[in-house]
Amino acid sequence: MKPEELRYAKTHEWVHVDENAEHAQNGQSLATVGISAFAVEALTDLVFLELPEIGKQVTPGGSLGEVESVKAVSDIYSPVAGEVIEVNQELPDALQWLGEDPYGRGWIAKIRLAGAADLEHLMSHAAYNKMCAEEES
């Protein structure tokens, strides 16, 4: 995934929507979700990741698991509504992927969208970067 082509939630999750994915059924799109490089860098020292359960129904802001660093536990929030149909099973044992490739190998879950992809409330890459810059200052 190229970070410039993704959409972002205020809570630092990214989402990619693939309308032609083989998993898509009945015109439903497939979204891939992960956490941004900014978030991973802010967390430092990752020790644990809990993936969401397959079959879980989520709405925007709903829980998609947890990531834990030495310092604190952080919830992962779904940016979209739908059903979790796949999770990155190997990721909890390979947390370094989050640091090395957060938009590729470090993907967290795939969600079959409930309806049309509603990404209007999510930020573009540029807007997300701006938000991060403001957060840092």
Binding site: T44, D45, V47, F48, E66, E68, V70, K71, A72, V73
Partner: protein
């Protein structure tokens, strides 16, 4: 309400190095410069340099200084030989803890004095406590005076198996001669200050107190020396993981106004015999009843970290709570300290820790989690 945080003399240095800063005890402190685990492991394998200027530093002088402090501390310090350091607790009438402190008996050009180092967040409370008891004990100002020197000084800790090399580089007199928990008023680089062989990491090390004017130059010298031998500057996050592995209590977690030193397992620092002090009666009662929660060490086999406040259960009943927890870089697994009912505090007891709704098995283990080689 906007709270302004006090800055240590090294604030600009920390921010220039990209440290994540946060408020702690009213001060803007470096939490981490990069990876917490790296800073932790550098301290365990080589040396870590800590800016601990935020700690409160009080100087007591006068003929009645020793006896005054004796009346407030869980152990006497009036009999401390010059050059010795003692850990003790200021206790309240319920036997709870006002603060845990280090008291050192030293001498400078003005004469003998006691130095008390207190937790940053408790400084104002301790000052008010002292003022109250000076009145209550009716100690005249001619016989007792104290000064808050916190803002006139900077304080650093150099900790680790190679700490000696770093401290030697700035001290005229050989610091390795110093026994553990001893201190000197001595020349360090350009200025005189207090050097003690003390620390909060479970490693060998020293703590240095110098006037503010000397702080930046001294820090830079110490840092350069650290870097040359695989060491580095260390923030408060790794300071916490280090002290937790060494099972050292942190005020607000293992000690508080409601938690007595007996509960926290600090009997060694409580002398009830032949020593009158504020809180003694309550502690005598507690020591007699023995029916109070105990501090324990806990480990789990998972990777989720038990955190402060997580309930501890046995057979469906809440029997205690976690007071501090982290991922231990040295052990490579989660470790925690907490308080459980007295009958469950023995090593090997199996408990469940409720981690945000998920119960995980944990075991009571012996403390500390880490002991430095050769100790």
């Amino acid at each position: 309400m906007t709270l302004t945080l006090t800055q240590t003399p090294l604030h600009a240095w920390h921010t220039a190095r990209g440290a994540k800063m946060a408020g702690f005890g009213g001060w803007s402190m470096p939490i981490q410069y990069g990876s917490i685990v790296e800073e932790h492991l550098a301290t365990r394998t080589s040396v870590g340099l800590f800016d601990i200027s935020h700690m409160g530093r009080l100087i007591f002088r006068g003929a009645a200084a020793g006896s005054f402090l004796d009346g407030l501390l869980s152990r006497s310090i009036s009999n401390l030989p010059e050059g010795r350091v003692r850990y003790a607790l200021l206790t309240n009438h319920r036997g709870g803890t006002v603060d845990d402190v280090l008291v050192t008996h030293l001498r400078d050009a003005k004469g003998p004095f006691f130095l008390m180092v207190v937790n940053a967040g408790n400084l104002q409370k301790v000052l008010a406590w002292l003022e109250n008891y000076q009145k209550e004990f009716a100690v005249g100002q001619a016989d007792l005076e104290w000064q808050d020197q916190t803002h006139q000084q900077s304080m650093f800790a150099v900790q680790g198996p190679r700490a000696e090399e770093v401290v030697t580089s700035v001290c005229a007199r050989n610091p390795s001669e110093m026994g553990y928990y001893t201190a000197r008023f001595t020349a360090m680089d350009t200025h005189d200050g207090v050097l003690s062989r003390t620390g909060y990491t479970g490693e060998d090390g020293w703590e240095l107190i110098v006037p503010v004017a000397a702080a930046e130059a001294l820090w830079k010298k110490l840092f350069t020396c650290c870097k040359q031998i695989g060491g580095t500057s260390v923030g408060l996050a790794a300071r916490d993981t280090l002290r937790l592995e060494a099972a050292m209590p942190l005020y607000g977690h293992e000690l508080s106004e409601e938690i007595s030193p007996l509960q926290a397992g600090l009997e060694f620092a409580v002398h009830l015999k032949d020593h009158q002090f504020v809180g003694r009666d309550a502690l005598v009662r507690l020591a007699g009843e023995r029916n109070f929660p105990r501090r324990v060490g806990l480990i789990t086999q998972g990777r989720r970290v038990p955190r402060e406040g997580y309930p501890i259960r046995v057979a469906g009943r809440v029997v205690g709570n976690v007071s501090s927890g982290t991922h231990s870089p040295t052990l490579g697994q989660p470790i925690a300290m907490g308080f459980v009912a007295q009958e469950l505090a023995s090593v090997g007891t199996e408990v469940l820790i409720d981690m945000r709704g998920r119960e995980e098995a944990a075991q009571v283990v012996e403390l500390p989690f880490y002991k430095r080689p050769g100790s």
